[in-house]
């Protein structure tokens, strides 16, 4: 027996095998025309056969296969600005009266939509990977103790980033109406990606003679988790403040990596994270263009959020491990810190340019703490 969980349960007993003496064709006919011959068959209603809002739809299969976006044809492609149905009725299905509401709090398209969600969903599936077998773990060799400690501390932080993403999406996903299933589908892939990131950084920390490090105090997590005003506001903090920082660390992975395994981890993770940011930015742009004061709300939140991000980055466990890795050890940490400063500068620049792309210019109002990282 190969599965230790597959131990016989209480129903196990001594028995002997009843030989199969009956041919397949005889067995089928026996059961349906014999044993079930007398089953009571209710009269057919078939009233459902004409219940459709639109018939004759044929979605195109392209070189990319049959994608979820390709289904948005005819009335099925009409995505209303508000989805009042409070159940899980598929968009475009023929409704039936009397279904109890479930209670979705996000019913406005502007509060979650992104035009690219359907494509990103398919992209996520096409680019799936498996930490257990797609990372060349055997390529990891012994590292100096200080470098290993720094890698493990970095992995601990990145596990926490992924965990925050999981818990945030877990909090919001079930509040989103099913009229916008494209977004729900994409966010399911994002949560799955985050689980994979949590997994892969834990595996790295525990695979080379090290272990996990010290937890973050949690300033940024607290800000994201306790953001309850709306998904857009949470998305602003999750993607722009935290997400871009995580993304920048992943991008620096080619410098951070000590071996092919770490290189592969960062290369694969950065693709995932780029997808998440793509949804985040597209949604935030959509939200801003459809609500008069949304940019002001976002500006206010970002002003506070920037200070919290900067506070977290001042924790020694955030930048110092990066400096040790970049410097090749504690002795090189001083020069490594210059690379870490460059990483932070890239992060802040990316943050500002991303904001500009969604219609917010914070170049003059950027918090001094974050501004100080600009080179």
């Amino acid at each position: 027996m190969t599965n230790k969980d597959n131990e016989p349960q209480d129903s196990a007993r001594v028995r002997s095998r009843r030989r199969v003496n009956q041919r397949l064709r005889d067995a089928v006919s026996k059961e349906t025309s014999g044993d079930l011959k007398d089953v009571e068959i209710p009269p057919k209603k078939l009233d459902w056969m004409k219940r459709t809002y639109q018939w004759g739809v044929k979605a195109d299969v392209t070189d990319s296969g049959l994608t979820i976006g390709a289904l948005n044809v005819g009335i099925y492609g009409e995505i209303p600005d508000r989805w009042d149905d409070q159940s899980r009725m598929p968009r475009g299905a023929y409704p039936m009266p009397g279904v109890p509401p479930i209670g979705y709090s996000i019913s406005e398209k502007r509060d979650l939509w992104a035009d690219n969600a359907a494509d990103l969903y398919e992209e996520a599936i096409q680019r799936r990977w498996t930490p257990a077998t797609d990372i060349p773990w055997e390529a990891i060799g012994p590292l100096p103790d200080d470098v290993e400690a720094a890698v493990c501390q970095l992995c601990t932080m990145l596990c926490q980033h992924a965990n925050t993403e999981i818990e945030t999406l877990g909090t919001w996903l079930h509040q989103m109406s099913y009229g916008y299933h494209e977004v729900k589908l994409f966010l399911a892939t994002e949560m799955f990606d985050a689980a994979r990131h949590f997994e892969v950084f834990r595996k790295r920390a525990l695979s080379n003679g090290g272990g996990l490090g010290l937890e973050l105090k949690g300033d940024v997590k607290r800000m994201i988790i306790e953001s309850r005003g709306g998904w857009s506001e949470t998305a602003l903090l999750l993607y722009l403040l935290r997400g871009l920082f995580t993304f920048t660390i992943y991008r620096y992975g080619s410098i951070l990596a000590n071996n092919d395994a770490e290189k592969a981890i960062f290369e694969k993770s950065v693709q995932d994270k780029a997808r998440h940011l793509s949804y985040g930015l597209e949604h935030l742009r959509y939200a801003i263009t459809r609500q008069d004061d949304k940019d002001l709300v976002f500006n206010n939140l970002l002003g506070i959020g920037e200070r919290l991000v900067a506070r977290e980055c001042k924790e020694p466990i955030v930048l110092e491990p990066l400096a040790v890795i970049f410097g090749g050890g504690v002795e090189g940490a001083q020069s490594g810190m210059r690379t870490a400063q460059r990483l932070m500068s890239d992060y802040v620049n990316l943050y500002l340019s991303s904001l500009r792309s969604i219609g917010i210019d914070r170049s003059d109002s950027l918090s001094n703490d974050l501004k100080s990282y600009l080179l």
């Binding site: 349960q9 007993r13 199969v20 041919r23 397949l24 026996k30």
Partner: protein
């Protein structure tokens, strides 16, 4: 070279071909850990899957050894023959001869648990595509059938 079904040689041949990964388009497969029994008349075998490979095949002397399997597959010998011929003709099981279809069409099922433990028997469903590809590999085997019609 032709190989007789049912025989240990036949399952060895299947194991080699399955492990060679020469058959493509194997969608929905992955690691698989299960000990599968195969019953054809009086002949009994076990097929061991570990991780991505079929690691062992054995012929059983005593049917009580089926207790160690997660489940076992049993068909009338002539149905095994029909299934293998169908796989050969279609380069993989046709609609009527997939393991799943056979399981549904038989009133007692194709996959059975010696211990009547549905959790272990559910491995048949969890790894169904792996088992299907294992038997589909017989499309590349020149099979001859032992005369054992007991109908």
């Amino acid at each position: 070279m032709s190989v007789i079904f049912p025989s240990l040689n036949w399952f060895e041949e299947l194991r080699n071909r399955f492990n060679s990964n020469q058959r493509d388009n194997q969608v929905g497969v992955g690691t698989c850990d299960a000990l599968v029994g195969v019953a054809c008349g009086e002949k009994l075998f076990t097929v061991q899957f570990e991780a991505f490979e079929c690691t062992n095949v054995m012929e059983l002397e005593d049917e009580s050894a089926l207790e160690n399997t997660d489940f076992y597959l049993e068909l009338h010998p002539n149905d095994w023959k029909d299934m293998i011929i169908n796989i050969k003709e279609n380069n993989g099981a046709g609609l009527s001869f997939t393991l799943n279809t056979l399981d549904l069409e038989l009133s007692d099922g194709l996959a059975k648990s010696w211990t009547e433990d549905q959790y272990r028997q559910d491995l048949f469903f969890r790894f169904n595509q792996t088992f299907q590809y294992f038997f589909d590999a017989s499309a590349d085997v020149e099979t001859v059938f032992e005369e054992m019609d007991i109908a």
